[in-house]
Symmetry: C2
Subunit: 369 residues, 2 copies
């Protein structure tokens, strides 16, 4: 059964922060962990060898995009997503719900599912919980997500109805699952309303998924609201299963939300910032196009052990940007992903050492400086 394959070992707790290991058919995921995003079966600009060299432990791919192009049946024919993208480590696919609501031109939601138009060619498609699961089974990721609606966070009445539908979709997603080598995670919704979040967490927890996610955050609400929602939800979600905060990934968010008991994160930020010439560091972001770096022989970060920092100067990276050379995106993606993977690894070590609070305090002070 899925619960046996997908064991979550809790190794240490430090306040609400947790260190663990989540077992999957493609390897162990040490938690807390950050997952780089490979929307279209590629973490933008990186080869799978470069992902391996980065020691990435979990990669996310997007169901909506892969359903539209190249098509999940084609991916299945090619042996599934692991074979298709030549990434033999753990993969997580989202349900497609978030992209249907954020990317498609028009959409109509009803009890059964969502009808939407493709952002690529305007063609009409329909997702239901059952189809989302069938697509995700075709893709074959280690972790798949229940189909949900990510609602606008401040409309209480709408969030109430949407949450209840998301709960019914969670049950239907669970019922639709046929493969036992994939872990299906449930998703808690409820906008910025503590009572709805608590109710949603109780319901999702009752379905006994091998892991649980918090959706609908980092979508416009304030940080105090986000943190309050995470607290309410994590007080309810079971200790013995991983908790995944969807779509979140600044260094500050990682540090703070791990302190609130989150185990898994994903975000396009490191690769998107890379394509916009920004380097993520423990002291904040650097705009590598800045003229001050033109003759700077130092690496982006003196203490960073990534390939980029071990190999190239700030001056070289700025030159690539000025010269419109795509290698800048590759080098900055390597650096930014390394920065986040290194950060979660250090937080994990701090939790195991019982020093999470001291680490977080020092890190956040440095980040502000």
């Amino acid at each position: 059964m899925a619960q046996n394959i997908f064991e979550y070992e809790l190794i240490a707790e430090d306040g609400d922060a947790r260190a663990g290991v989540f077992h999957t058919p493609h390897g162990e995921i040490p938690t807390p962990i950050f997952a780089p995003v490979g929307t279209q079966a590629t973490v933008k600009s990186l080869t799978s060898r470069q992902l391996t060299e980065l020691d990435a432990k979990l990669v996310l791919a997007n169901t909506y995009h892969l359903y539209l192009r190249p098509g999940d049946d084609l991916v299945a024919d090619m042996g599934g997503l692991h074979a298709f993208m030549a990434w033999n480590g753990p993969i997580l696919t989202d349900s497609g719900g978030f992209q249907v609501f954020s990317l498609s031109d028009t959409r109509q939601i009803d009890e059964d599912g969502v009808t939407f138009k493709s952002h690529i060619d305007g063609s009409t498609h329909r997702f239901t919980p059952e189809l989302s699961i069938r697509i995700q089974e075709n893709l074959g990721a280690d972790i798949m997500m229940a189909f949900d609606e990510c609602a606008e966070p401040y409309d209480r009445e709408y969030n109430c109805r949407s949450m209840e539908r998301t709960h019914r979709w969670a049950e239907r997603s669970q019922a639709a699952q046929s493969r036992q080598d994939q872990a299906l995670f449930g998703i808690v919704q409820g906008g910025v309303f503590p009572d709805l979040r608590e109710e949603s967490a109780r319901f999702i927890a009752s379905l006994d998924f091998p892991g649980n996610a918090i959706g609908g955050l980092s979508v416009g609400e304030t940080k105090p609201e986000m943190h309050a929602m995470i607290k309410v939800v994590n007080d309810v979600l079971p200790q013995g299963k991983p908790r995944y905060l969807m779509g979140v990934g600044t260094p500050r968010d990682l540090v703070e939300c791990i302190g609130l008991g989150i185990d898994i994160f994903d975000c396009v930020l490191p690769t998107r910032l890379a394509r916009h010439n920004a380097a993520m560091t423990d002291n904040g972001r650097m705009n590598m196009m800045n003229a001050q770096y033109a003759q700077d022989e130092r690496p982006i970060s003196a203490t960073c052990t990534c390939y980029t920092c071990q190999t190239h100067s700030r001056a070289y990276i700025r030159h690539l940007i000025q010269s419109h050379e795509m290698l800048s995106g590759t080098l900055l993606s390597i650096h930014n992903i390394h920065t986040l993977l290194n950060l979660v690894a250090r937080i994990r070590a701090a939790i195991i050492a019982g020093e999470y609070q001291a680490f977080a305090r020092a890190y956040l002070a440095q980040l502000k400086a």
Copy 2:
């Protein structure tokens, strides 16, 4: 002295084809060899680690581009081109002449040099043989090129005057050289005129450069004309020094021109084709965007040992192209450069085995098929 550092060992001859080793301060270059082009101090889309994994033996960089951006003084301040681009193997820089004549908006040539406008911002600059050498000494490549004019190939009267000026510029380039750890190569010109080519080869050979190049070919003349010029020139150029055919690099050209005694080639073709979705193979080019590859699980080439072919299917590469993912350019650049490096390595082995003719015949037959 440069001649001692830059020894060319002739290992085998098979007809006019030669196998050798050219020694440089950054390592041995087995010849015949193909040099990928890193115009702006980066072989487009590839990290220096990927170049190392490709076992590239020589990389070309462009003096014109690096002079304009980031500036050769800056590169010198950063420790030279090897340190700047983190490529510790042999590098060759051209003289800037070809780009001045092909890229800059307007130019005025006189006995002393060329005044031109930057293709980047329209600013006015002037190259002389002395400045070209100073820039190339700032860049610090293992091999640098005499400043020359690449003239339109069919105007006899102009080629005559231009060639004589190129000869005077070759002497001035030689006189301007101050560093002894760089090999300066002379360049033979003369358009499509056998007598001019012969005269140019005699003159350039008389200057006793550690290596000699043939310029002004593959610029619009026919293949028979190109081959005739190479024959005339190589009959004159010394056996004991490497011969570099500038800017040439289709598989057919490599096979045929090695048979005419060429040792070194460079071309943007493998990376440019990669960015235009084309894979180079022993059987010709494949347009990887073609719908026939949509569900093709095979690698680009069944026998290819490159990272791309060892890792990914045609279907995946087509998906990346369809999805506008820049990784397709990286994967195809790796494959195409490997294809040419593998080709020259096989030709070299055939020459050493005394089987060049059989190899060339079989290869060219396969290429046509």
